[in-house]
Symmetry: C2
Subunit: 450 residues, 2 copies
């Protein structure tokens, strides 16, 4: 690593082994990529140049990759990560999760959690995160402030939920109009932070938690503003059947009727979405936060990512903390491949081969990493997720020699055996947050010490 | 951590927060467990005593757990961990894996890999490993020597494979009798190391790679000795159908006919084993190395662990490096739960709820950790896997305060929120090798610096 350190305010240059996925079926490697980053954090040029002196010369044994996009995080659930997963979704929510979320009116507690979670995600390479906060406007604003403080690109949503049956009386908006006005106040509070990286997102929790009046009201805010939207959709047989019963149609179509399927609408899960649902998503430029680990617990099925991508739906990956329990999106990229295999073959040995699963469902690590980066960014209409001139320098590094030396790392590079694509597969499958070195967001070093 | 260090040759005492699973549905926690270990590495007593001075006082914020048992590891596949998984099992073996295994006649290469793999597994808390080595006797002996050197409890198997169709001509035993005699030589060479921790294991690769004469010959060695046995069984529709076609019965029953189902027989995978197969395994005291991650790639179905345990079959967990790509068994415990959920619900959203999967298949983290420790040990008829008087001190630690401080850790302990069972769930689901501190095998400190 070079000792030359330029004044970052004037931009900098960096060289390493660039690996990324420009499209969902394309892998790119540039062993001696020289990346120049402007003072505004935007990449000005990338050349294949092993010789010119640069500010930070990582050498060919440090991989540089575009930053990861986590399209679905429940920030207040962070303290319970990894627990209670033997419960079904309804019990998990009412008996376990919502009581925790209620604690965040204690702003000291909120700040402690936010300032623990955000740096943890950044250290895992998550340069963009899409957060559900709480129903509390103040603690939501504090989450946005934590993102600004730590330098993370983020969408932060104050959760709207007012349904008298679908929410507990001790954790709900008192009315649809109160929910709408609190959502507007939260947008104003986050906008008032004046950050170029952090913006609000409209967050009606999911159909069972929201009255028609609330969904309609959020749809109207969306129509009159350019604020992004997130909600849950077609997660679990319970929720899916609920929507069919209440609306006489899928929640996807019902949400569309309320004006909630638009550019930058992030629909979490969608495991049970139909062909018609996928078509409507595509027509509206809405997309899916695919959360493979969480879906194994609460989804009742595997989201058919390959089919959705094949019909042109935008798909990113989500950790779904704490329905999923892994901080960081490399692990979800790996799990997206694993779960696609289990969708492809099926799981029940009591069924005949060929009738257990849904063939032609497998994806590979290239598609998975694309969803984790450029795919997630496209869903949010961000320019990140690829390292190219004109795009922000959101990136992380993996030092292969350091990983090889570290007994607790599972990443092992054997240069005599691994070609670049094999090395890429290894990174997706075996690199963990402790293997991630430096992280930059919009050209600013936010973790590690490059 | 105490600065008092006794002469380990005279035994030592240690105190921490003990967590373990005495049975498959029982969780035990002892916050101030004082464990005394004799000079022979055997636990002499455990008391609940927060006050008496001890040699190593870890305090209540360091968890002590019984060491992990990895019942299925292909040591020579370590350099390719995490790669080539888009191939089907047959192509993965012939085009990718066996060419790598052939390299190990280069003993310098073999030693490099073994001395990289074994410490990596130990650092991940794997105190016992069951290894497939190669067909080469010398490199197999070197693997056993590496285990002795690094202090790992291990079963090391020289791979026998002679089938003229099921193996490539460039990587096979020249005849059944040559395979049998090489297996005997390997047993003698490993026994000659004189280690109390490392022993040989008979290793006919799997039915397609072995002639009847070889299987018969290995069965005869087993009958006349007390050497353990390992092979693969009912992994993938391809292999399962092959066995039915060749033997007119399942490979489980065929292996039994050759005398290969006995005490300490480890059958890897068994995803497609029938009720009859499970019954025969139980009758013979044979058991299963359940490898949930690998099975998602090559198994074509999820092994029904709950059903097998319910009928009394012994089940441990295996990493199946490199069909699985995670070094360490905590991750497999977590994945065993995840894959049991996907077996329970099924994966195909195009099927109706209730007909996608096999209900009553879910296991919880307690059962998963039991398989990772006491269950795997019972399969091998070892006394490890539980910390109790009379059993060897094979154990590892997790420092909760250190994990909380480390941004790259996903393990977050919130004492005000987590009770002991929730903390245990967190450890299973979110602790990774980098969270593991000290590791002891038979009372000897083999990793970390307690």
């Amino acid at each position: 690593m070079s000792t030359i350190e330029s004044d970052q305010a004037g931009g900098f240059s960096i060289r390493g082994r660039l690996m990324q996925t420009p499209t969902m079926d394309q892998f790119e490697v540039r062993p001696g990529a020289l990346i120049r980053v402007g003072a505004d954090g935007i990449i000005t040029s990338i050349s294949d140049d092993p010789a010119t002196p640069v500010d930070i010369d990582l050498g060919p044994n440090v991989v540089v990759m575009p930053g990861l996009v986590d399209t679905h995080v429940h920030a207040p659930q962070w303290p319970q990560v990894g627990t209670g997963l033997d419960l079904d979704l309804e019990r998990w929510l009412f008996e376990y999760t919502l009581p925790l979320e209620r604690r965040y009116h204690d702003l000291e507690f909120a700040n402690r959690v936010w300032n623990n979670l955000v740096p943890t995600l950044i250290a895992a390479g998550t340069t963009t995160a899409v957060y559900y906060a709480t129903i509390d406007v103040e603690s939501t604003t504090l989450l946005a402030e934590a993102c600004v403080r730590h330098g993370q690109r983020a969408f932060v949503g104050r959760v709207a939920m007012d349904h008298p049956v679908g929410t507990p009386e001790w954790y709900r908006d008192v009315s649809a109009s109160a929910a709408v006005s609190a959502s507007v106040r939260s947008i104003e509070a986050i906008d008032a932070l004046g950050s170029a990286l952090v913006e609000p997102i409209l967050t009606p929790r999911f159909a069972p938690a929201c009255t028609d009046a609330l969904l309609q009201g959020i749809g109207e805010i969306a129509a009159s503003s350019n604020v992004a939207i997130q909600t849950h959709c077609s997660e679990s047989d319970w929720e899916h059947a609920y929507a069919l019963d209440r609306f006489g149609m899928s929640d996807t179509l019902a949400l569309d009727g309320f004006g909630l399927l638009r550019d930058r609408t992030v629909l979490a899960h969608c495991g049970l979405a139909s062909e018609t649902d996928l078509t409507v998503m595509r027509q509206r430029n809405a997309g899916v936060a695919h959360c493979p680990l969480s879906n194994a617990y609460f989804g009742d099925a595997v989201f058919p990512a390959r089919r959705a991508l094949g019909v042109g739906v935008r798909v990113g990956l989500g950790s779904d903390l704490a329905g999923g329990f892994e901080a960081g999106i490399l692990a979800q990229a790996s799990k997206a491949v694993t779960s696609s295999r289990l969708l492809d073959t099926g799981t029940d040995p009591g069924s005949e081969p060929g009738s257990r699963g849904r063939s032609d469902s497998s994806i590979d690590t290239i598609t998975a990493f694309w969803m984790a980066t450029a795919g997630g960014a496209a869903l949010l209409q961000q320019q990140t997720g690829l390292l190219q001139p004109g795009r922000p320098f959101d990136a992380f590094t993996i030092d292969l020699d350091a990983a090889n030396q570290r007994r607790s790392s599972g990443l092992r590079w054997w240069p005599e055996i691994d070609d670049d694509l094999r090395l890429f597969e290894k990174i997706i499958n075996t690199a963990r947050p402790s293997d991630i070195g430096s992280v930059w967001i919009n050209g600013r070093l936010v973790a590690g010490g490059a």
